[in-house]
């Protein structure tokens, strides 16, 4: 891997949230009802919310935009209870993960109830990498079925690429609890892979790559 790629990845993961100090100030002000700072805060966190929602739901899911809007509304309502345990961007991302999961599950339930042949994930269009599509769909289908806490942790872990500590800080639970949730979620993932021989074969084909 090229050195600059390594450097870029390091930056991506480790770079502090942009203007985090500003975001915290805005969050405190917005929590008191300041409409101007509420707007500025939403403008600041909206791109991250969009990314989080898309990561959890899939970029082509028909309800992505609704989920983003619902997340921002929920964030406004949640600000008075935000005590600054984590960066406001992460607080917003957590709401995004939960909202996106709820919207996905609702869409899936309704689609199944109305017409079992309809799968919201089926509207993904043609991808140049069917294997990537398959893995993303497997992940999202698993998130739909997991208990909420496990789904949240796994989404943050794989879809958002967060560290265990990031997840613990943002969700406000002990690190070992996060470990346990991830372990249980991965066990469910292992069963799902085992139940899908073609997916298992596909993953086996990656075996020698590293």
């Amino acid at each position: 891997m090229a050195e600059e790629d390594v450097r870029a990845r390091k930056q991506t993961v480790e770079a502090p949230a942009p203007a985090e100090g500003l975001a915290m100030q805005l969050a405190r002000s917005a929590a008191t009802g300041d409409p101007d700072d509420t707007r500025r805060l939403l403008e600041l966190v909206a791109p991250r919310v969009v990314r989080a929602v898309r990561a959890v739901m899939g970029t082509q899911h028909p309800d992505v935009e609704d989920a983003v809007q619902l997340t921002l509304i929920a964030l406004i309502h949640a600000l008075p209870s935000f005590r600054g345990e984590c960066a406001p961007e992460r607080f917003a991302a957590r709401i995004a993960v939960r909202t996106a999961g709820a919207v996905r599950r609702r869409a899936r339930t309704r689609a199944t109830r109305e017409d079992g042949s309809i799968d919201p994930d089926g509207f993904l269009g043609d991808s140049e990498d069917p294997g990537a599509d398959r893995r993303r769909r497997t992940l999202r289908a698993l998130l739909d079925d997991l208990p909420e806490e496990q789904a949240e942790a796994l989404a943050m872990r794989i879809a958002l690429g967060w560290s265990l500590k990031d997840i613990a800080d943002t969700t406000g639970v002990p690190l070992n609890t996060v470990r346990s949730r991830i372990r249980l979620a991965k066990e469910a993932l292992r069963r799902r892979i085992a139940d899908d021989p073609s997916l298992a074969d596909e993953l086996d084909s990656l075996e020698g790559a590293p």
Partner: protein, 330 residues
């Protein structure tokens, strides 16, 4: 617990940061050789990141236009838990009772017709279901400058390979400056202008689905379109499975259509039609209008045709036929 259940989470994190030492990389490699779950994780992280990176930009200001309303500003100061973190649910009997009241309220206020005849078939499943078009493709988003993206992420690797030992990296520096967006935001539409904070005590912090629906309807009757949209959206977010939320989708779509957000209206109408309901033919007509305003003539024609096929005697049928005739003109 077996060996493969002890996933090396810290090594995976260090791999993601490009910080693995040679010996660590070997340990991770040894685990990956026997653990399909961790192979899946590493590969899917990149898959998701690539998908998100390739997605079209979103017009943040347009999103905020339907979120940051005076109503939102007023409710922001309330000590309310986030909707998505709460599981409160009103009793089912109350929801059903409220639904009976609110169905008529929505229909009457929105000026829709033939509700009475439809209500005679209430129960949602009595209606004749036909192949109503289901537009699940999101409306095209006009290109617009996106607020600064905080974390540029490099393209995914073509192969599942581990990063080499880390090279000295420069201290990351933030490249995001929100100021231009903030300046732009202050020049937005009057509907987004900050409302003065209320000096009177806010309404009760915990509104049920019925309460939210009533608040939305009251806002609409009072001409507070933004407030009504906000309340309908809150209702849908907090009580997504409630009958009020389902009815709110129809009302919300109508209001978004009237306010010029045909794409948002279309999504609400589609969501309503997926669940069915007594307002179906009216929503189908408004859905066709939304498609017309979105400039999608073939989808619009299909929508009108579907309406006629489903409800040939509907008050909307004549309009549908006229519009179809117009669409067929060269």
């Amino acid at each position: 617990m077996r060996g493969v259940d002890l996933h090396p989470e810290e090594l995976i994190e260090r791999e993601a940061r490009g910080e693995l030492r040679v010996d660590e990389r070997q340990r991770l490699q040894a685990h990956l050789d026997v653990c399909a779950v961790c192979r899946f994780e590493l590969r899917t992280r990149r898959d998701v990141r690539a998908e998100v990176d390739e997605a079209e930009e979103v017009d943040v200001q347009r999103l905020l236009a339907t979120v940051l309303t005076p109503e939102a500003a007023r409710t922001a100061a309330r000590p309310v838990k986030p909707a998505v973190l709460r599981r409160a649910r009103p009793p089912r009997a109350l929801l059903l009772a409220a639904a009976l009241v609110t169905i008529a309220s929505v229909a009457g206020a929105a000026g829709w017709t033939e509700l009475r005849s439809n209500l005679s078939h209430r129960g949602h499943t009595v209606e004749t279901r036909v192949d109503a078009p289901r537009t699940l493709t999101p409306a095209p988003t006009p290109p617009a400058p996106l607020a600064p993206t905080p974390t540029p992420i490099p393209a995914p690797e073509p192969e599942l390979t581990l990063a080499p030992a880390p090279a000295p990296a420069p201290t990351p520096t933030s490249t995001v400056t929100p100021a231009p967006t903030l300046t732009l935001a202050r020049t937005l539409a009057p509907a987004l202008a900050p409302a003065p904070l209320p000096v009177t005590p806010p309404p009760p912090p915990e509104l049920g689905a019925g309460g939210l629906f009533d608040r939305a309807n009251q806002a609409r009757h009072a001409g507070d379109r933004a407030g009504a949209i906000q309340s309908y959206r809150t209702l849908v977010a907090q009580f997504p499975s409630s009958p009020e939320a389902h009815q709110a989708l129809a009302a919300l779509g109508k209001m978004l259509l009237d306010s010029g957000d045909a794409g948002g209206a279309l999504r609400s109408f589609d969501e309503y039609l997926r669940g069915g309901g007594p307002l179906r033919q009216d929503v189908m007509a408004d859905r066709a209008l939304a498609l017309q305003r979105l400039g999608r003539p073939s989808d619009e024609a299909a929508a009108w045709s579907s309406l006629i096929a489903s409800y040939p005697a509907s008050v909307h049928a004549e309009r549908a036929r006229r519009r179809l005739a117009e669409l067929e003109k060269p």
